[in-house]
């Protein structure tokens, strides 16, 4: 079994298809949706985690490729621009999963662990330097 994070972008043409339903039914995947914004007649974004056998995940991706959907594997829809971070650490008490944390308590350098991020977006609201952003 394998768990993988993906961020999907749906153009307007694909927003009326029950793609996630098929991923669950046909490929036996467990889906954990972090965040979604899919509105008919508009473009859509979906940030999720899929769990299943490697074979089924590969087949599911093949299935997705049959649509006009852009797949960002392993990526989150939340982006942390490390180069612009001032390492004040103000985000730390707002991040519920410690995805944002000090890499070293002595130098107090902030790091972002994408795997731990649940896309609550509180860092975006909080960061005084606009270091965190969302794809949607």
């Amino acid at each position: 079994m394998k768990t993988q994070k993906i961020y999907l972008y749906f153009p307007k043409s694909e927003t009326d298809k029950p793609i996630i339903c098929h991923l669950i039914r046909n490929y036996d995947l467990t889906i954990n949706i972090f965040r979604a914004k899919v509105t008919p007649e508009e473009e859509g974004h979906l940030s999720l985690e899929v769990t299943g056998t490697e074979e089924n995940i590969a087949k599911a991706f093949q299935y997705l490729e049959g649509f006009d959907v852009i797949i960002h594997t392993g990526a989150k829809a939340v982006h942390w621009e490390g180069q612009r971070c001032t390492h004040c650490g103000n985000c730390l008490s707002h991040c519920p999963t410690a995805a944002l944390h000090f890499a070293d308590p002595n130098t107090r350098e902030v790091q972002f662990d994408e795997e731990k991020c649940i896309e609550c977006l509180s860092c975006i609201t909080n960061c005084p330097f606009g270091v965190c952003s969302s794809a949607f």
Partner: protein, 397 residues
């Protein structure tokens, strides 16, 4: 054992000065003893990096043809003050962009303002100037719109009336709703604390009685050579102090100036505080000459020896009640949690210890390379000064 500025500068110029950061000096003195360490060490570098709202810059645009006496000006739609000579303006860090809804849709986002313009200028970006004038015989032009960058300006002089607060409040929120402050977002019912100081690295915490830092002191201002040009506004040295003379609240401040053309954009950063406003985060480094053992001992101050007051920003701060919920040390603050009213509360900082440490190292390298000489203050900062409140009065009859 005592040294003079001239002796220290001679050693710096010959590349032989012994320079330690405010962090390194602590263990060094522990190991060597004060007497030996004072004989060996010439300079200790201190620094801080964080939002400093009372910051801004004077810009001189040069004259267009025909000439113009600019009476209203906007840079990237951020208003600059024009009540000075023809093409001089002052741009303040907390000025909002024109049409920013501020807190009309509470809590506002405050995405861009004076601090961001200053960051963009230092980063060398092209920005738009829009200016208006009423027109005069000698300055007939009445409107100007042009793109410029920092190299097109004759001068860009950062001039900050209040930086480097000696110490600062720790903020929390006892109310039932989230509040939005200059110390960040404070969750209801004391669920987080925020502070803003580099603690043991911070300049005025390493020189608590202003024995070396004064008017005329040469400083490192975001990478440029700067100067302390006056006591900072709200300089209030007559406050409660610990046994080590280190204040437990705001206390001293510095007014700083430096040439923006020589600054590094990494240390000049626009700040957006949700529900509060915009500001500018700045990096400042100040060298402390080790003239004698007492001055050295003061630079060995540790986070555990520096206290700060936890204040309720929902009620006691805005209403000026003077109530302190609790005192704590910077060692406790930097541990990430503090016990308050029987529960563990998460702590985070507005000030970057990481950047302050980096500035200490950069300044240390400049001094070691003989590129940064120290200057003796021409005037001491007031040591026994309090701060006045503003009493609301009726018109004089």
């Amino acid at each position: 054992m005592s040294k003079t500025y001239a002796e220290i500068n001679e050693k710096i110029a010959s590349g032989k000065a012994v320079v330690l950061t405010a962090e390194e000096v602590i263990d060094y003195v522990d190991k060597k003893g004060v007497e030996q360490a004072a004989a060996e060490i010439d300079v200790v570098t201190t620094a801080t990096f964080g939002p400093m709202c009372s910051s801004g810059c004077f810009l001189n645009f040069g004259h267009s043809t025909p000439k113009m006496r600019i009476s209203e000006a906007w840079i990237e739609d951020v208003r600059a003050y024009c009540g000075i000579a023809a093409v001089d303006v002052y741009l303040g860090a907390t000025e909002l962009r024109h049409n920013d809804p501020a807190n009309m849709y509470y809590p506002g986002e405050f995405r861009y303002g004076g601090g961001h313009v200053i960051e963009d200028l230092v980063a060398g970006k092209k920005l738009q100037l829009f200016g208006l004038s009423y027109g005069t015989d000698d300055y007939p032009r009445r409107e100007i719109r042009t793109m410029f960058d920092i190299n097109d300006l004759n001068q860009a002089i950062m001039s900050n009336p209040r930086n480097c607060y000696q110490n600062y409040n720790v903020a929390t929120n006892t109310s039932d709703k989230t509040i939005y402050t200059y110390l960040g977002i404070l969750k209801p019912r004391i669920r987080n604390l925020t502070y803003s100081s580099a603690g043991q690295l911070s300049p005025l915490l390493n020189d608590p009685l202003y024995q070396t830092i004064g008017i005329g002191t040469s400083i490192w201002l975001a990478g440029a050579r700067g100067i302390v040009y006056a006591e900072g506004t709200q300089h209030c040295s007559k406050v409660e102090r610990g046994d080590n003379d280190v204040p437990v609240e705001g206390a001293g401040t510095l007014a700083l100036s430096g040439d923006m053309k020589k600054m590094q954009s990494e240390f000049v950063r626009g700040v957006s505080l949700k529900g509060y406003g915009v500001s500018l985060a700045l990096g400042v480094g100040i060298p402390i000459p080790i003239l004698n053992e007492e001055i050295l001992m003061r630079t060995t101050v540790r986070d555990r020896d520096i206290s700060a007051c936890i204040i309720d920003y929902a009620h006691d701060y805005p209403q000026k009640t003077g109530k302190v919920l609790q005192k704590c040390t910077y060692e406790q603050l930097r541990s990430g949690t503090i016990e308050i009213q029987g529960k563990e509360v998460k702590v985070s900082s507005m000030s970057s210890y990481n950047k302050a440490l980096k500035i200490c190292e950069l300044l240390k390298a400049e001094i070691q390379d003989g590129k940064f000489l120290l200057s003796e203050a021409s005037q001491r900062l007031p040591l026994n000064q309090s701060m006045q409140a503003l009493n609301i009065q009726g018109p004089t009859k």
